[in-house]
Chain length 170, copies 2
């Protein structure tokens, strides 16, 4: 099979990480480059990424965002944000930052790195914690955070194709 298709089909949420293997700076850059290759409304490219590798801060995320408790065992985490300054960005920034988040998951999988998408937006408490903890610049809105690291669990391809979810024409 086409290996790019295989990469899309085999991506799974990985929540257990092998701390003995570190993701390299070059790999992190490739992942961020992939994140910045997603499309954006009016080609605004308003993404903003916080790369968190400080163990103390990974622990703080785990404590403050209960469904992201795996973050403390991750090698690093990318907080995906978007600069929201005008009315059009208010309409489309969630879509744009989501496409970018998906590119992070897929490029990690292509590099053999496991990842899981944890939501931040639209929960006020989570948004405020992230803005304060990471001292985000004005107008930078956090959408999601992705925990990343070499996998310590194995998940295979899962068949999800469902004809019932497809409509042809009317």
């Amino acid at each position: 099979m086409n290996s790019a298709i295989e990469n899309i089909l085999t991506r799974r949420s990985i929540r257990k990480y092998d701390k003995s293997k570190k993701v390299s700076k070059e790999q992190i850059d490739t992942i961020l480059k992939s994140a910045m290759s997603a499309p954006t409304a009016r080609n605004q490219q308003g993404w903003y990424f916080v790369v968190v590798s400080n163990p103390k801060q990974l622990l703080e995320i785990s404590k403050n965002i209960p469904h992201a408790k795996m973050v403390k065992t991750a090698d690093f985490t990318i907080i995906v944000c978007y600069e929201v300054t005008d009315e059009m960005q208010k309409l489309y920034w969630v879509q744009d930052a989501s496409a970018s988040t998906q590119n992070i998951l897929l490029s990690a999988n292509a590099l053999g790195i496991g990842s899981v998408w944890c939501a931040v937006h639209p929960r006020e408490a989570k948004i405020n914690f992230i803005k304060k903890e990471f001292n985000l610049p004005l107008n930078i809105e956090p959408l999601s955070l992705v925990a990343l690291g070499y996998p310590a669990e194995k998940k295979g391809y899962e068949e999800r194709f469902d004809e019932a979810k497809i409509q042809y024409n009317v």
Copy 2:
């Protein structure tokens, strides 16, 4: 380079299509399978896809959604929707349907098929047109539409990596 990474980095918005080449049913199924491999909040997998190949309906979309006028020249279009029935889905369906849309763009690129993401949500007039024209089932919300076809324009890799958009720890 890793071909799955290359596929992510080389995806560009393609708005001109070669009508002499048809996308096969097998390829459309691969694209839809990719769309259904995206993650969803609480693994709800609430996607719903409308595959539009009827030339009259492609023309109708072009007429009613001005920024999607390339749809009339596309081989087909996928309308990406999500079933929104509870409060949690209201919070996360846009993210989930966006990740699925991104998988469509990427799997098309992997197959040599061009595509472009056109927004539907959150514009009321566009949402109502799609719901009526395609007689969408109750609670099915359209997020985006993707025009697809063999490319009649060539776009190469565009460097978008920008260090200014990356923050390390605090």
